[in-house]
């Protein structure tokens, strides 16, 4: 006798859910778009047998912004505004990968100073993204104070970014060919201040969480991901490094001058929520090391290439030379044409491999700009990790694979 027919909201879901749910024996529950622990608007249709998750069907698209379609309607330089809002915790990383793709497509050179500054900012952005991850992941496990500490530190990094680009988060500071403006004079000691304060802060967080018995009980041995599964499902970044594979694109395919800096790839084998936490904490220290090396060897020189075909001339020159006015006018109204070719540039974002497939069609607008975003791919592993765990552990697992929904939905 069927207890009571559970009508499933959309008909196609029937084949995904076991028939125990349809008869009403297991509870079908929406851990839906508005939920404190889904890190944004992710909807999980959970099939629960009491507290145990029998099946978890993620449903994304609640933050789909049509960024790829919008990029096709703007010129190369103006489309970069779109890229900041994709993975809004790693805005500099998005700018970097878009600029690298455009530079590779049109074969534009980047001066050494711009490459070093790009490395500094991408690593600072990685630390600030890990801080937000740490804050919200600990908040999900009821460690309230870590959230407040992390955001206090993050403000310092945001001040540095605002000092250079005028905007706290959506900086658009990198431009095809280098940087938008040169660094302000007080940049140096602001970053020095961060460099010698942050190690103590990270020890503070580790003191709060690493050997905290409650945190260990909630995270050790939960959400196990083996390396083979990780690679088969395309998981990259700290989630894969947590399973013991030292796969980091900054070492594999160095870009923007990463080969000059020596740092080691943070890995820990175990593949559960706790090791992913350890990997990200270690990664913050490595980023500090990179920033220190990059800041010490910061080369002087031009901050943007002077290839007038692609880079608008500085304002000062407009008063004197006629060609500068022509270049300025052409670049800002129509933009520069790109060859009829396609380029795929992968970069290491705090969440994994972030790649841009950029295709030009001879015109000034990108013909196709596909974003291979890590959250979209890492989120596919969630049903695999969450078989047979408690709902409370599912919250820890979502926190540990560090997804950002703007990144996943594009």
């Amino acid at each position: 006798m069927s207890l009571q027919q559970v009508e499933i909201t959309s008909e196609e879901l029937r084949h995904l859910v076991s028939n125990r749910a349809i008869e009403g024996e297991t509870v079908l529950l929406n851990m839906g778009p508005q939920h404190p622990s889904t890190h944004g608007v992710l909807r999980l249709l959970l099939e629960l047998d009491g507290e145990i998750v029998v099946n978890c069907i993620p449903d994304i698209g609640f933050l789909h912004t049509g960024i790829e379609k919008n990029i096709e309607a703007k010129t190369y330089e103006k489309a970069e505004v779109m890229t900041d809002r994709l993975d809004y915790l790693n805005t500099m990383g998005n700018n970097l990968v878009y600029c690298l793709a455009v530079e590779k497509l049109v074969d534009l050179d980047v001066p050494a100073r711009a490459q070093a500054v790009r490395v500094i900012f991408t690593e600072l952005q990685r630390i600030s993204s890990h801080l937000v991850w740490l804050g919200t992941a600990a908040l999900d496990l009821a460690a309230m104070s870590v959230f407040l500490y992390c955001f206090r530190e993050r403000e310092r990094i945001l001040d540095v970014m605002e000092m250079c680009s005028g905007q706290r988060m959506m900086t658009t500071y990198f431009r095809p060919g280098g940087l938008w403006r040169d660094l302000p004079p007080e940049f140096e000691d602001a970053v020095r201040g961060i460099l010698n304060d942050f190690p103590k802060r990270i020890d503070e967080y580790e003191g709060l969480l690493t050997n905290n018995p409650i945190f260990i009980d909630r995270t050790k041995g939960i959400g196990k991901l083996s390396v083979a599964d990780g690679i088969a499902w395309g998981v990259t970044g700290p989630s894969l490094r947590g399973s013991g594979l030292a796969y980091d694109l900054r070492k594999e395919e160095p870009y923007s001058g990463y080969e000059q800096y020596e740092f080691d790839v943070a890995t820990a084998d175990g593949g559960d929520v706790y090791t992913r936490y350890l990997v990200r904490m270690e990664e913050m220290r490595q980023s500090l090391r990179i920033v220190k090396q990059a800041l010490d060897k910061l080369p002087s020189g031009p901050f943007r290439s002077n290839n007038r075909k692609f880079v608008p001339p500085p304002r000062a020159e407009l008063g004197t030379s006629m060609e500068a006015v022509i270049h300025h006018f052409k670049l800002w109204t129509e933009g520069f044409p790109a060859p009829k070719e396609s380029v795929y540039v992968p970069v290491e974002s705090p969440r994994g491999e972030l790649g841009v497939l950029l295709e030009g069609d001879g015109g000034p607008k990108p013909y196709r700009c596909y974003w291979r975003t890590p959250s979209f791919v890492n989120l596919q592993v969630l049903p695999l990790l969450s078989k047979g765990v408690f709902v409370a552990d599912l919250v820890a697992i979502i926190g540990s694979i560090d997804i950002v929904l703007g990144d996943a939905d594009r």
Binding site: E12, H15, G66, A232, E353, G355, R410
Partner: protein, 172 residues
């Protein structure tokens, strides 16, 4: 930049086995494969040549050009051997059909659902082909070139009133 030797060997091997046409742009190996052979190519790449990760899977719409209207782009990555390979599958316009590679690479599941959602490419024997990004009852496939951007006229002071009349209001 010349292709390094191992990649060359792989590309030539694909060429002989599946009649794929190689190409290269700025050091990126690119191979054009016929749509019906893609599953075997993916399987040999993974088993024989060690390309164990499908990094990216997307499509490009060359709209006015009817014959191969879509290019489905597969990015394969050999994690151990540090190699990247791009495979392009041309599909022609009206009823684009493609076999699903989820049997070889499980993470192609969502990518292919996105292809169906955004481009309308029908993926055969895909475990659960539904729209992934757009609402279920959405009509049309947004990332096709002939789909309008959905641009709404911006309200300035001169056209404020008549746009305001047409603007939908919240109904209680």
């Amino acid at each position: 930049m010349q292709l390094d030797s191992t990649l060359n060997a792989i590309v030539s091997d694909l060429e002989t086995a599946f009649g794929a046409r190689p190409g290269e742009f700025r050091g990126r190996a690119r191979v054009i494969v016929a749509p019906e052979r893609i599953v075997e190519v993916a399987r040999t790449l993974r088993d024989k040549h060690g390309f164990d990760m499908l990094a990216a899977l997307s499509a490009v719409d060359y709209w006015p050009q009817r014959e191969p209207r879509f290019h489905v782009v597969y990015e394969f990555k050999a994690v151990a051997k540090k190699l990247r390979l791009e495979i392009r599958v041309p599909l022609n316009g009206d009823e684009p059909e493609l076999d699903s590679v989820t049997s070889v690479f499980p993470n192609a599941n969502w990518h292919e659902r996105e292809l169906w959602d955004m481009f309308g490419l029908k993926i055969k024997n895909h475990p659960d082909l539904r729209r992934i990004l757009m609402p279920e009852d959405w009509v049309g496939h947004p990332l096709r070139k002939d789909y309008p951007l959905g641009y709404e006229e911006v309200q300035f002071s001169f056209n404020f009133e008549d746009i305001d009349k047409r603007k939908p209001r919240p109904k209680d």
